[in-house]
């Protein structure tokens, strides 16, 4: 457990960069440099952590050297480590993109340190082993995202930020209430210990545990943007600068999905009916998200609705943990993990590319742009890779992710949800084709007002992160086996929480703590 400090590094690196950046308040250039260093360090630390977890299993560290249920636990299993690595990738890509995308006004108000705070909060949420700390990490990343969303103060931004802040605060209040009730019932907040205690409670008072699970589902469902709690997302994600949209779109809803996975596999015992319920939610999320996208004619709005629809696929994978067959449970969770990784990379990239397209074409409105395929063929290629991947065109990453989800769904005999997944996939192709024909293929309309050409260095800086993410998409597409193996092992670990519990070391501490009358009940 002494080597466990590596668990904290992906959280501490961006936090340190943010703190140092705030000291350099009047020097945005230094802040930007620190941002690159912080995000890079987080990626490196994440990779180191992943390697350690692959080699030695779940890693855990207790702050303050108190034993498990009393100390503050941070723990990394494969899912957490993989998520941290993807966070690092997106953090680095978005920070580099921001160098060319973010205006001096926003930089002067600590844009780069805020991004680092957000990254630290996200990493903290993925690594914490304590449910109250999960709430704290959520608040940290939310606070950073609030400011990032509102920074700049444009009219559209204000209305979007208001919706976003309100709905997320309601979600946090529900989450906090859930945490309080959990403590009242179990006298514990440590997730590993909750796994042991809620299992006991569920035998005598199943309705209590089900109600708690419902509370957590609504709280995380708002954050993950599942049907019918998703309306805040398309109302706000298209309003800030594209770099911010990409960061939020790539990472934040997925933190909600992660929390759902963590809570339903580790904290709560298997509950009756949850699988069926989640399958219904997943189907509706996919269908409503994609239908919303069909009706939109603004690139960022289309992409925002697709986030919702794609969340449905992840929830579908998670829903299969309600299956009776262990093979289906493992296949479903593995598909969900694979889908999350693929989706984060592709969705962030699509936002980045849409930003470059708007910079060249002059607008996000599809009616006002055109001819980009002839004007910038390199950009067309850069768009086609993530767009094809999102739509599930082989051999890109999205094809394998969709295939894994659908195969798991077929094995779990979730016919309706599979039908919804295939239908939503078809409409996703339609949406991507819509952007392609409108922005890239049709001739530029007379009303188009292309802005003055951007400097070469600026375009290179914008294209480089997008190119890197596209390369990742292609690499996963051509050689999916390593990532799928990783997802499969992560799923196996999730389905055998005893490893996690043992690594946190709570079982022994729990036995010795029982005698001392902790909590008086």
């Amino acid at each position: 457990m002494s080597s466990g400090w590596i668990v904290l590094l992906p959280l501490l690196a961006p936090l340190a960069a943010a703190a140092a950046g705030l000291l350099a308040w009047r020097a945005p250039r230094i802040q930007a440099a620190l941002g690159i260093v912080g995000a890079g360090a987080q990626l490196a630390a994440g990779l180191g952590l992943l390697q350690q977890v692959l080699r030695e299993g779940v890693q855990a560290v207790q702050l303050g050297s108190w034993p498990a249920p009393f100390g503050i636990t941070f723990a990394a299993d494969l899912l957490g480590a993989v998520m941290v690595v993807v966070t690092g990738v997106i953090g680095l890509a978005v920070t580099v993109y921001s160098l060319a995308d973010i205006d001096p006004g926003r930089r002067a108000f600590a844009y780069f340190p805020l991004v680092q705070v957000l990254l630290a909060g996200v990493a903290g949420a993925f690594l914490t082993g304590d449910i109250f700390n999960l709430y704290v990490c959520f608040e940290v990343l939310l606070m950073a995202s609030f400011v990032l969303l509102a920074l700049g103060g444009e009219r559209a931004q204000m209305a979007g930020a208001l919706t976003y802040v309100t709905l997320n605060l309601v979600s946090s209040a529900l989450f906090l209430a859930g945490v309080g009730l959990t403590y009242g019932i179990t006298r514990s907040l440590n997730m590993a210990e909750l796994h042991l205690r809620l299992g006991v409670v569920a035998e005598s008072r199943p309705e209590l545990v089900l109600a708690l699970a419902g509370l957590f589902f609504v709280a995380f469902g708002i954050k993950a943007a599942v049907f019918p709690l998703y309306t805040w997302l398309p109302a706000s994600y298209h309003t800030p600068p594209v770099a911010v949209s990409a960061l939020l779109a790539g990472l934040l809803t997925k933190v909600g999905v992660y929390a759902l996975i963590r809570v339903l596999t580790l904290v709560f015992p298997p509950l009756p009916g949850v699988g069926t319920f989640l399958l219904a939610v997943a189907s509706l999320t996919m269908v409503f998200g994609v239908l919303g996208a069909v009706a939109m004619f603004e690139t960022r709005r289309i992409l925002s609705f697709h986030i919702v629809s794609q969340i449905g696929y992840m929830v579908m994978g998670l829903a299969l943990v309600g299956s009776d067959s262990p093979a289906v449970r493992a296949a479903g969770l593995a598909a969900a993990v694979l889908y999350i990784v693929h989706h984060i990379i592709v969705k962030a990239n699509l936002f980045l590319v849409s930003g470059i397209a708007a910079r060249l074409g002059g607008s996000f409105q599809l009616a006002r742009v055109g001819g980009l395929a002839a004007a910038a063929p390199w950009l067309a290629l850069l768009f086609l890779i993530p767009a094809g991947s999102l739509a599930g065109v082989p051999p890109l990453s999205g094809f394998w992710a969709k295939l894994a989800v659908v195969r798991a769904g077929l094995a779990g005999e979730a016919w309706w949800t599979v039908a919804a997944a295939l239908g939503a996939g078809l409409l996703t192709v339609l949406s991507m084709v819509k952007i392609w024909t409108e922005a890239f293929w049709k001739p530029a309309p007379d009303t188009a007002t292309p802005p003055p050409p951007a400097a070469r260095w600026r375009l290179a800086l914008l294209a480089a992160p997008s190119l890197g993410l596209a390369a990742l998409t292609v690499a996963i597409g051509l050689y999916p086996r390593p990532l799928y193996e990783l997802a499969r092992r992560a799923a196996e670990q999730l389905l055998a929480p005893s490893n996690y519990v043992a690594a946190v070391g709570v079982a022994t501490a729990h036995d010795s703590a029982r005698g001392d009358g902790k909590g008086g009940q």
Binding site: A156, M158, A159, G160, L162, A177, G180, G520, Q521
Partner: protein, 114 residues
């Protein structure tokens, strides 16, 4: 005492949600504040309301006396109050800024402003 707290918490939730559904920025803000208070009081009552002793460990002992009050819910609430304070201050500044930029305090009227 627990029954009273339960009624208070329920009342806070109900009035908070009602205020949030009104079409006014200020009431939205007040609603958020009430929701936060409701959650804090809920933790307090879920933690068990006992007229117990302070959980101080006597010299030579390793555990607090039996029947001592559980300090943890109060620590949680303290953290939640601090976070809530920061978040509500931000929301207040945002609401003011929204009013300045859009010129209205009706959230429904600013939807189509983009």
């Amino acid at each position: 005492m627990e029954l009273l707290l339960a009624v208070v918490v329920g009342g806070l939730y109900a009035s908070g949600l009602y205020l949030m559904l009104r079409r006014s920025l200020v009431k939205l803000l007040l609603g958020l504040v009430l929701l936060g208070h409701a959650a804090n009081l809920l933790i307090f009552s879920a933690g068990g309301v006992v007229r117990g002793e302070a959980p101080l460990v006597a010299p030579g002992e390793i555990t607090p006396p039996p029947g001592a009050a559980d300090p943890l819910p109060q620590a949680l609430i303290l953290t939640a109050i601090v976070i809530g304070f920061a978040v509500v201050s931000f929301a207040a500044v945002l609401a003011r800024r929204v009013f300045e930029v859009t010129g209205t305090d009706d959230p429904a009227a600013m939807e189509n402003g983009s």
